[in-house]
Symmetry: C2
Subunit: 211 residues, 2 copies
């Protein structure tokens, strides 16, 4: 099962690596990192380079499409090469998925019109511009479209998707070997739980939504 | 604050990227990926390449040392270049940290003797061979040494460490922007919670401990 993980300049690393580390461990999974051109791709902070092994055109029919988010997604929202690839690949994919603002790229390609979807909490407001129906659930499944909330939510999505594809036993096995027994030292992981001043701070410098 | 994240052949990607994505967002953080030689480094599955921007020798005095785990750690346990670098860098570091079996590399360098520490649940048994005292807590702090449990535990460690270095408010801010509000679809993330057959399966093919 080929899983194409799409990289682009200023993607967020954990968006891609979280679901890679879970979904990619499913027996039979063949994850491949792709970008418009094969080669090194810099993350959003500029401190980490991941390598895209293949160009988009070299991977035309993945079974699973996985689009991470990151502030760089804004510049990709009118990248017709990427949007055309997404539409074509989606026409034969089994699952089309995103983490964080990756859903705005699926939406820009027209793939989420009329569908329930999620995104980073700072980007939910942009989904209706593309006809999608935003929800604040952590992992949202609507048909073959699976979207996850911000950054770390891709880990939960990866395990959910393994459960759907390969069964609960396999998903639990991957959870065990990745020791995913989260114990956050704080309870500030969503805007309804975090201190209001922190929510307001991030809203004031929202880098995810085009202005 | 320079944070040296150590890469080596067949490291586990999420071990490195989880704490990078949290700790690396702390104001003033300057994460740098390092390896024995600068350049591309393959992960444990061979499907993902991260780039080490600097060689170990180019980064002799990081403020924070972060050593991920992965099955490749076995071959590093007698790599004197790495062990010498760890000992030297540790002599001036503010924090010396690991995720998963990265703790076996700190232990091999002699840095955990007499200290409480953790590792991937499959590797805890190896810690006493180096004089460390294994615990099954998710994040263990003993002086300036912070070790995290398997793979995904590096995210929790990253947030804990931000709290200690920069305060609770900053840590919560990073938790919020990475939307770390985990909702695993299963409860199988540790050996005491997972089905016994899955625990036995992974024990039977333990790739983390030298035999």
């Amino acid at each position: 099962m080929q899983i194409a993980i799409v990289l682009y300049d200023r993607f967020t690393a954990l968006d891609a690596v979280g679901p890679f580390e879970t979904l990619g461990r499913m027996p039979g999974a063949a994850p491949v990192f792709v970008a418009e051109e094969a080669g090194p791709v810099l993350n959003d902070s500029g401190a980490l380079t991941l390598v895209a092994e293949r160009s988009l055109l070299e991977v035309p029919r993945p079974d699973v499409i996985l689009v991470p988010g990151g502030p760089g997604q804004i510049d990709q929202m009118d990248n017709q090469v990427l949007l055309d690839w997404l539409r074509t690949a989606d026409s034969t994919s089994t699952w089309t998925t995103s983490v964080c603002t990756g859903s705005l790229l699926l939406a820009s390609a027209g793939l989420l019109a009329g569908r329930r979807a999620t995104s980073h909490w700072l980007a939910l407001e942009a989904l209706p511009l593309f006809g999608a129906r935003p929800t604040s659930e952590r992992v949202v499944t609507d048909g073959k479209y699976v979207t996850a909330a911000g950054v770390s939510a891709g880990i939960d999505m990866g395990l959910s998707l393994i459960g759907r594809i390969a069964g609960d036993d396999v998903a639990q096995s991957v959870q065990l070997i990745t020791e995913y027994d989260p114990q956050p030292p704080y309870g500030a992981g969503s805007p309804d739980k975090a201190p209001a001043d922190l929510v307001a701070y991030w809203q004031s410098r929202n880098r995810y939504v085009p202005r």
